[in-house]
């Protein structure tokens, strides 16, 4: 469903070009879950941004459901994200002026696919009952994280891209949130690409790949 073929990406820095991705190949099947590991600064977020069409590769080809992302124009890529992807960011990126309930429904509404019973189910499962009227700044870190996951899953996307969704949480809450996310992904039938640097988090997923010096490989240990 999501394919990377010889993808290259470099950033221009004052010290010259920084080659972050240097020929990445990857293949993610429908309904499959994949953990993407790597050290800090290795390029995991960059890869995720490319997968979401937020940025374009310098060379190589990325296809989603058989369509090359590079052939889409900006509105086309926006449409792809709106209709088929769910994104969970490292820093949540909730809308501060919307309350929890509106934040949760935001993407489903944008996609025109609001499903009240599924949304209610999500609120319940994510433990957000009673917090719907609160604004993001009035929620704890873990609550905000769960809200961000809920927002991404509400339209039942074909693919969920999550960038260290548990990075800001303590170990036990991280585990809880992760378990919950995996269950919900299963329920909604989505594929999952999860960025993490923790082997424990990666363990329950179908596959695991590691990004080192611009290349993807099976983790050694």
């Amino acid at each position: 469903m999501l394919k990377f073929h010889q993808v290259h990406k470099a950033y221009t820095t004052p010290q010259g070009p920084l080659r972050v991705l240097d020929g990445v190949d990857m293949d993610l099947e429908k309904g499959q879950s994949l953990a993407l590991m790597g050290e800090s600064g290795s390029g995991k977020s960059t890869l995720l941004h490319l997968a979401a069409g937020l940025d374009l590769p310098d060379a190589g080809k990325i296809t989603f459901q058989g369509i090359s992302i590079a052939t889409l124009d900006e509105p086309g890529r926006a449409r792809l994200r709106r209709q088929s992807l769910g994104l969970v960011f490292q820093q949540f990126h909730l809308v501060p002026s919307l309350n929890a309930s509106d934040n949760l429904r935001l993407q489903a509404r944008l996609a025109g696919r609001e499903n009240p019973s599924w949304t209610r189910h999500l609120v319940e499962r994510l433990g957000l009952t009673g917090l719907e009227r609160r604004y993001p700044e009035q929620l704890s870190g873990g609550q905000q994280q769960r809200l961000a996951i809920g927002r991404a899953l509400a339209p039942r996307p074909a693919l969920l891209l999550a960038d260290e969704p548990t990075g800001n949480l303590d170990e036990t809450s991280a585990k809880d949130v992760l378990t919950l996310m995996l269950e919900l992904v299963q329920e909604s039938g989505s594929a999952l690409l999860l960025v993490t640097h923790s082997p424990q988090v990666a363990a329950p997923l179908d596959r695991c790949l590691k990004l080192t010096r611009g290349h993807l490989a099976e983790p050694t240990a």
Partner: protein, 840 residues
Amino acid sequence: MIVTAMRTLLSHYRRHPGQLLMLLLGLWVASALWSGVQAINASARDSYARAESLFTQNLDSLTRRDGAPLSRETYIELRRSGLEVSPLLEGEVESAEGVRLNILGIDPLTLPDDSGFASAGSGEALVAFMTPPYQTRLAPDTLKALGLARQDAANARPQLENGRRLPPLVLTPNLPPDTLLMDIAAASRLLETQGTFTRLVARPGEISDVPEALLLTPAATLVSPGQLTESFHLNLTALALLALVVGLFIVQAALGLALEQRLGMLRTLRALGVPGRTLVGLLALELLLLGGAGALLGIVSGVWLAQALLPDVAATLGSLYGAGVAAELSLPWHYWLGGLGVTLGGLFIAGTGVLWRAGRLSVLGLGQAQAWRAGFHRQLRTMSIAGALGGLMALGLWLWLTRLPAGEGLLAGFGLVTMLLLASALCLPPLLALMLAGLARLAKKRPLAQWALADLQLQLPRLALAMMALLIALSANLGVSSMVGGFRLTFLDWLDQRLAAELYLQPAPEYFEEINDWLLARPEVAETLPTSSAEATLLEALPANGSARTLTLAVSVFGITPGERLRAHWPLLNTLVGRDAAWAAITAGQALINEQLAIAQGIAPGDRLKLSSPTGPQTLQVVGVYPDYGNPRGEVALATSQLTKRFAAPPSSLGIVLHAGANTISVQNALVEHFGRREAATGVETLTDQQEVKRIATDIFERTFSITRALNALTLGVAALALLATLLAQSRERRRQLAPLWALGVTRSRLAGLQLSQLCGAALVTALLAVPLGIALTACLVSVINVAAFGWRLPLHLFPGEILLTVGVAVGVAALAALLPVLSLWRTPPRELLSQFEAT
């Protein structure tokens, strides 16, 4: 998607109603002042158009030289001799409501048919107009003066103050305000004039031989009120434009802030799949909605403002130019559209920059506020370049304008002022940034001061716009107040010049000699100063060295008595060979001209003028130029004795100069005692005290500039609001920046003090910059705009007190604007500061 995205964008204002308020406030103020002034202009223009459509404007007219009414016999005689003249009877009546109304009596049968008397119509309508009970034609807005509502107007016969009733009313919209038009017979009865006329009118050029006792005023010498008042309206428009610009500065600041704080939201929305173009479109739609609301609010309050100011404006225009303006608004439909258009247009100018930047940022770049602000350095450079270019353009315009003949280049003059203001405003932020950087280097040893300076540098992108608005408002305020102050001094001088004697009198012509002799015999009277006036055509100007220029310019000729008192009070700008020689030459029969004539025709002392007169062309040498406040026309001054002889104009008024310490009242009483008891009218009832005239004139002057002052003060108020709004809108964020300092052990009161001194310092610098700019502006106003608008130069006066006050006001305004956010910081409990500290 669109609805959800729009609702999400707008949800920002639900959480930050202050920003919404600031946006609406800016739009409201900008469009209120603008549309208020436009309402006044539109209303006045409507009045002028109606006055101009009245035939009396376009006809030559004959009056008696001595000002007495014309008899029926004179009229019949002229008609018999084949002249197609038509009689007019003009007069004033007072309505029962106490309003003075002009009566205009016409004879529709003899009135030249192409003179546009469409209102009388033909056939039956004409018969109704000309036969008892006659008709009173009037514009609907005159009804109020008669205490009538529109629906009761038709055929009503309202009673006047003197008990007489008007002929039945007929509404005729294109008549000037406060004018009642009727058949000459009906007017004669109302005014009790026993069949005399005030004027005879004829088609232009019809009358060639003017009988001895009559004076011909060609239509061409009558300047239409629209032309005369153009510069006044241009001035108002310029002030309104200033307010609009200052208002738009607020809007731009508010928009920038509202967008900057929503960058994260924009990024999230784009990441969730809303295309960038859609977002920009939605932001534009948001602008449109806000603009519509602000413009509507503004136009409504603008009309209200106009209604409040119009009586003053009408009084000003009446006293300055004799132009009648209805005291009630009448607004054409395009006024409303125009107001909306200007507000929306301004909003888009203010908004496109912001939108363009938002549209250009990439999704990933959107999240970083730094990326947004990094542009500021580049902006500073662009600003300095644009400011320097603007300055150069202003210089070029100035050079070009000094070469232009007088009376031209008014628009270019305003262009110069605008350019000057914009260029300085653009240079302000780079200058502030430079100063801050320099000061920060100096303050290395004092960490808190250094922090305060660095922090101010960080705040600069947001404060810049408000500071620019403040600079513009302050310098405009300084410029206009110095100009008005200078105007005032000049005007008082002029009053002294024209009212040199203690008492003034307009004796009846047949008693003139007797009264004059009687006065000169009184011990209190030092001298009498007879004056007279006539109309003439300037036929030729003969430069001292050069060939003669043929002209046909209507000028007024004014007779003065160069006695001791008058010589002391009558200023001369420029003479041929010194003051005393000039006065001696005047007594001997030479002439002075006013500055307007000198500038407009390029006439200098030493040149000679050939003027038409009833006794044949007269050649006079110009021996000096005098300033002449507010006179739109050229004037030639001669000794009264010469005027009487050469222009056949008898003396019309008499100034009475008393010895020092003489009792004015006793002279007045003696004069009335001696002449007031005569059967015939001697004219002593016209005796007026100079003091009284000056008081009235000064009152009128104050009224003239009350609008200018009011608009000016409003602009400064708007700038203060801009500053306050900017500070309030970011106060929450400011607290977040101050929290770490508090956590490091700086007390809250210390922090509040720091904030206050930051802003007052910035305002002080701005105000100090505004001082030279204001002076430059004054120079432009008095030596460019005034010459272009009125044809005479105003001396440059500076008022240190006023300047000091303005600087004080600026700092006060900044302190006041800073106080609210500072108070809120000072009252923030430490616990909350802590939570904000953690949020960073």
